[in-house]
Symmetry: C2
């Protein structure tokens, strides 16, 4: 299931089974220069979206996340001046962690424009950046697969398609933007199961926000998603939409903070938390 | 089940069934001067803890809540300068709401000391206060009762006992403090059901944090809880401990913000959200 990125810069061992690597070992690979998408890496461990914003916007970001918990479930906050979570948190406790190099690839936004993509964020980091670690739908994809629900994008070796919608997030202070959703085509007779299973993971987007009608979400360019790859539906599939952790990046495009550093879509933070940690009940 | 407060100042209609009042009607009673505990009021609607802190501590409070989601599940944030949530939120949308009068009784802490209790917080309010609305265990008490699990404090007409523990919350910036728990004695053969049912409400404290051993939590004064009333266990009951929304008040005692305004324990905000809104899955 590994989706190899075309931007993989470092020498990769073709025999290495990335599914069984430890999160710390995976992060070491990324810090060493591998710039690959992380789908399929370190199975059983939660992957996460990341956004770092200047301290002066950090409260607004926390309220934005609280008001929009389905797209923006905050798993951890790294204080300004720190490069890793404090040891009390489950998300990443490894002593050698450094949020500026733990991810395989970063996006740097300046005043609402994607300025560059980098593999090492240290040269662009600032002391006043507060980092937000946000849940990712990969966590509920594993139990969907375990229940025998096919995930078409994985079968096709693609990233999941993600769309900006016409739905607005609740705004907070200076931060506003649209809801972004990920879409999975689910066989009609398994839609109820997909809802039931994903709803047990409220901290990683939870139940779908919409089932069945892309037009109702204002999605026009079906074959050209705003993020990720084109959809790969099979006959009889129903499009099911989950709130997506790329929503903060769409918020950045609209709200134009001086700087924002995020993961590159699909190139996630591999955390030390287990998917099962987020299972309710 | 109504626990009448001895501080009830206004004329109450003894025939009024407070269980079937609308939340807006209940808040109007409180704004009009009824200073009663809210257990049993407006059944089916979520009640909530409240803490308002100066804007300069608001980010720290959000991170404190994020790092301690079991005692401090944030349901809503009211911006500084506002007295009600914006209409996008479920918590209280009634146009006439005013967080400074909606509660039956408030506590005012100054530099970590309980300075006074008031029924109307307008004279002590400040423009820079940000208000945090935090989930309350009343929300899962209703489904426990519906499942036939007895709640001894209600049978005895008392408030639930709450204890400061020796467990520390994860700190955030200038905010630190101990975990406060509420205790319910549950018949041994219903403990598993109580865990199972409450765990489906992660936004209102969720599953217990501890089952069975008060000493392991550092609780010494069993018969004299730090908040609420003395326990009323029956033979065969096991003490079960849930994270408690009074935890922010214990944090205030230790962290000594210039000012903090909270609900009085047991005198909650009655919201317009339904208990069922917080049910997962």
């Amino acid at each position: 299931m590994e989706v190899m990125s075309t931007t993989d810069g470092a020498q990769a061992d073709p025999d290495e089974d990335v599914a069984t690597l430890s999160p710390a070992a995976a992060r070491a690979r990324f810090a060493g220069g591998r710039a690959t998408a992380t789908s399929g890496w370190c199975q059983g461990y939660a992957q996460a979206n990341v956004i770092a914003l200047p301290r002066e916007l950090a409260f607004d970001m926390m309220v934005f996340a609280q008001r929009n918990p389905k797209p923006c479930p905050v798993l951890e906050v790294i204080d300004a001046g720190q490069v890793r979570a404090d040891p009390g948190g489950a998300v990443f406790s490894a002593p050698g962690s450094d949020i500026r190099t733990d991810l395989p690839r970063y996006r740097v936004y300046r005043r609402g424009t994607l300025a560059e993509e980098v593999d090492d964020a240290r040269p662009v980091w600032r002391e006043d950046l507060v980092t937000f670690v946000i849940g990712c739908s990969f966590t509920f994809e594993h139990p969907l697969l375990a229940a025998g629900i096919p995930l078409r994008h994985l079968d096709a070796g693609r990233n999941v398609p993600m769309y900006r919608t016409a739905l607005r997030c609740r705004s907070a202070g200076r931060l506003a933007g649209p809801l972004v959703v990920s879409m999975r085509g689910i066989p009609a007779d398994r839609v109820a199961d997909a809802v039931r299973i994903s709803s047990r993971y409220p901290a990683v987007h939870g139940a779908p926000v919409h089932v069945g009608d892309p037009a109702a979400l204002g999605i026009e360019s079906w074959d050209e998603p705003d993020y990720g790859d084109a959809p790969a539906l099979q006959p009889g599939d129903v499009p099911v939409f989950w709130a997506c952790g790329v929503t903060p990046q769409a918020m950045v495009l609209e709200s134009c903070p001086e700087v924002a550093i995020t993961h590159s879509p699909g190139h996630m933070l591999v955390t030390d938390a287990r998917d099962a940690d987020y299972l309710v009940p």
